[in-house]
């Protein structure tokens, strides 16, 4: 396999592995937990490194996962005291842990290949150089690691799909049915930590946040079904990862950064053009409703004064602004809409209902 294909494979694996637990983070309004955990795992990695003196040791992942769970536990402890809100607790715990990690590195690990830039920023371009050879299998190490983590995520979510769903949407019901939402919460956070640490040396912790939050948020704009959201998140994650890779190739810039940027671009496109909840479709629906409402009010107004002595005065386009205090533009939209739909006719500025307009007005009068 060429390096380019290997990098793209790693990117896709990371994207899917991040998107799956990310769905639950977004739905549980814990998106910032991904940021907190991906920073706070640093001291776990560093301490595990001091113990094993081997950057490739799987103990590093264990250390990171423990640090991630510790973060969640500390946030919970602080929140439970009632002295701090949850977001403040998060904002205090993770910079403190991250700082401890940075200080440990600066003080005691200055001479090894474990620098903070690598943790935060990552460099996917170097991933193919670090290889794992087992028998005839010769693949980049980060592909192997992320592959295992991806399988772990898929297995966990498949096995505990029902429990996760219930704990996410109705914690109280989950607790009363004996599903232990707290255990599920910690398991999920442990999974997020493992995913974050697996991804960190390939793509850096900030990309972990981008891939955990942006694709699920985009998927959330597209569907109301959890299963569909999981699949869509993974797909959008893959699109972000691949387009990011090619953008980085073109600009000769950071791959992780480009992937995060593209995750944002994909989110932006979905946000704008999602069929039902997108900005464009929402704006169109709103303007359609405004027009329909204006038309109905106009028809009711005409119906009200129809055939009465004051009709000559009331039923004119210009009068709408005085009597109903409509904005001139709004009034002309209403008139145009009603004329176009043959609900009324205009003779030298005098507006009168057609038969279908009269029926429409009667209907609207009852139903508004």
């Amino acid at each position: 396999m060429s390096a380019s294909i290997e990098i793209q494979l790693i990117a896709v694996t990371v994207a899917v592995a991040c998107a799956l637990p990310g769905v639950y983070l977004v739905l549980r309004q814990l998106a910032m937990m991904s940021d907190a955990i991906s920073h706070a795992i640093l001291p776990g990695i560093v301490i595990a490194f001091f113990l094993t003196e081997d950057l490739g040791s799987p103990l590093l992942i264990v250390g990171a996962a423990l640090a991630g769970v510790l973060t969640v536990a500390l946030v919970e402890v602080l929140r439970k005291t009632g002295l701090l809100k949850e977001d403040a607790a998060i904002g205090i715990v993770f910079p403190a842990l991250f700082s401890v990690g940075v200080i440990l590195i600066a003080r005691y690990a200055g001479d090894v290949h474990l620098d903070v830039d690598a943790v935060l920023l990552g460099e996917l371009a170097f991933a193919p150089f670090d290889r794992l050879v087992v028998g005839i299998l010769d693949i980049p190490k980060s592909l192997a690691v992320m592959g295992v983590i991806l399988i772990l995520n898929v297995v966990f979510i498949t096995l505990f799909y029902k429990e996760l769903k219930l704990a996410t949407f109705d914690k109280a019901l989950a607790a009363s049915l004996g599903f232990a939402p707290a255990v599920i919460h910690y398991a999920l956070m442990g999974l997020v930590s493992v995913t974050a640490v697996g991804a960190f040396d390939a793509v850096g912790s900030i990309l972990v946040v981008a891939l955990m939050v942006a694709p699920p948020a985009a998927a959330y704009m597209l569907t109301d079904r959890l299963r569909t959201m999981l699949v869509l998140s993974a797909a959008l994650g893959i699109v972000s990862a691949l387009s990011g890779y090619w953008m980085a190739r073109m600009l000769d810039a950071s791959i992780a950064g480009s992937m995060a940027t593209m995750a944002g671009v994909v989110f932006g496109i979905v946000l704008a053009f999602a069929p039902d909840r997108g900005l464009v479709s929402m704006a169109r629906r709103q303007s359609r409703q405004r027009r329909a409402f204006a038309r109905d009010m106009l028809l009711i107004h005409l119906y009200h004064h129809e055939g009465l002595p004051e009709a000559r005065r009331e039923c004119r386009e210009g009068h709408l602004q005085e009597h109903l205090q409509w904005d001139p533009e709004f009034a002309s939209t209403a008139v145009k809409t009603a004329l176009k739909q043959d609900l009324m006719i205009s003779q030298e500025g005098f507006l009168s209902l057609t038969e279908s307009g009269r029926q429409h007005a009667q209907h609207a009068l009852v139903h508004i």
Binding site: V26, Q29, L30, A31, M32, S34, D35, H39, L78, T81, L83, L84, K85, D87, A88, I90, G91, I92, P95, A96, F98, S99, V100, V102, I103, A106, R107, G110, V116, D117, L120, L121, I206, L207, V209, A210, M212, V213, A214, A217, Y220, M221, M247, A248, L251, D252, A253, S254, A256, G257, S258, M259, A260, T261, A263, G264, F267, L271, R277, L279
Partner: protein, 376 residues
């Protein structure tokens, strides 16, 4: 003493300590409002989102003057905060998700720009990276001037709009009905927060700047319920963390300034959570223990009084075993009876029986009066 002498003589240390102190003051003060408005993590998002601003400012002007870079960071950071507000208000996306997206996407874009700049021929980009993790030791006079200049404007505006900011922090609905331009004031307050953040990026870095916003404010919050006191206290704690971090990193080799500032601030938070008067954890436990003891004392006292009131004298003794049965508290009455003895409210008659003293009788009557509103 040597340390103080150093602080005044060593030019670098003095510069760094001064910069860190000023920074702590402005971020502490603005962080107070962020904490109260439940925007603790906004600082984290803004500081990350400001990164492309630094790179863009450099790309557009080719200058590395701190003022230019800080302005670039400020404009982009502010734009990020506006986007977060718009996403939360106008779309189904929740606040935390908006923060996460903005933070990571803008930061990623900043990285793209930085790596792009690095690979440009003839670009003297060295030093831009320092914004990631901060390089307090490299602070120079002109950096301090920027911090002082922007920091004092931020504080001045905060003082000028004190009443308005106070109102929108506690009750934006009331502010709206009173006719204040709430939306505009919120944007102004956020803009000040952005300014306080971007002037700190070079000292503590993008990653840790959020802690400078939250930690001093969270610590100060524990000591007081008054906004004015809290903001001033947060500013002081911010300054102390800044100076403490700067000094200790100059004393110990290989101790990066930004992280150590954050650690100092976090320790102050921990101390405040544990030992703050009234709100603090220890204080609260002591109070709970005290009121628990008072309740137990009163309960046994009232029991003794009730028993005695069926006899001629209030000092009529009764057996400890009867009190155990009457007690609704867990355990036996013995410990409480011993306590009553030391308080001279009751005395043992023999090995088994206890009687009220006259003070005990008095107090029991007062307790009953209080509990039953004097009806007994």
């Amino acid at each position: 003493m040597d340390l103080l002498v150093d602080l005044f003589n060593d030019y670098t240390l003095r510069t760094v300590a001064l910069g860190a102190a000023l920074l702590g003051i402005s971020s502490g003060a603005l962080g107070g409002f962020a904490l109260l408005r439940r925007q603790s993590l906004l600082g984290d998002a803004i500081s990350h989102a400001a990164l492309p601003g630094i790179a863009l400012a450099f790309l557009l002007t080719g200058s590395k003057s701190p003022l230019v870079l800080v302005l670039g960071a400020g404009v982009v950071g502010w734009f990020g905060s506006v986007l977060i507000a718009a996403l939360t208000r106008r779309t189904p996306i929740t606040y935390d998700t908006s923060l996460g997206i903005l933070l990571s996407v803008f930061f990623g874009f900043g990285l793209v720009l930085l790596t792009f700049i690095q690979r440009m021929p003839n670009a003297n980009q060295a030093g831009l990276d320092s914004f990631l993790f901060g390089q307090a030791a490299a602070l120079m006079q002109r950096d301090i001037m920027v911090i002082v200049g922007i920091g004092s404007v931020v504080l001045l505006i905060t003082v000028l709009f004190w009443k308005e900011f106070k109102l929108i922090s506690f009750d934006p609905d009331v502010a709206q009905t009173l006719g204040f331009p709430v939306r505009a004031l919120e944007h102004l307050l956020t803009a000040l927060l952005v300014a306080a953040i971007v002037i700190g990026l070079q000292t503590v870095g993008v990653v840790l700047m959020s802690a400078m916003i939250i930690a001093p404010a969270a610590a100060a919050r524990q000591w007081t319920d008054r906004l004015g006191v809290m903001i001033v206290l947060a500013a002081i704690i911010g300054a102390v963390s800044g100076v403490g971090g700067a000094v200790s990193s100059s004393l110990v080799p290989n101790l990066p300034t930004g992280p150590i500032i954050v650690v100092v601030a976090s320790i102050i938070v921990l101390i405040s959570l544990l030992f703050a008067l009234r709100r603090g954890f220890v204080f609260r436990k002591v109070r709970e223990w005290k009121s628990g003891r008072a309740l137990r004392v009163d309960a046994v006292l009232v029991d003794l009084y009730t028993l005695a009131s069926q006899h001629e004298t209030a000092g009529y003794p009764h057996s400890e075993r009867v009190l155990n049965v009457m007690s609704t508290m867990s355990g036996t009455a013995r410990r409480t009876l011993k306590l009553l003895e030391t308080l001279e409210l009751a005395r043992p008659i023999d090995a088994e029986r206890w009687a009220l003293t006259s003070e005990g009788e008095e107090r029991a009557r007062r307790v009953i009066d209080r509990q039953f509103g004097g009806r007994s």
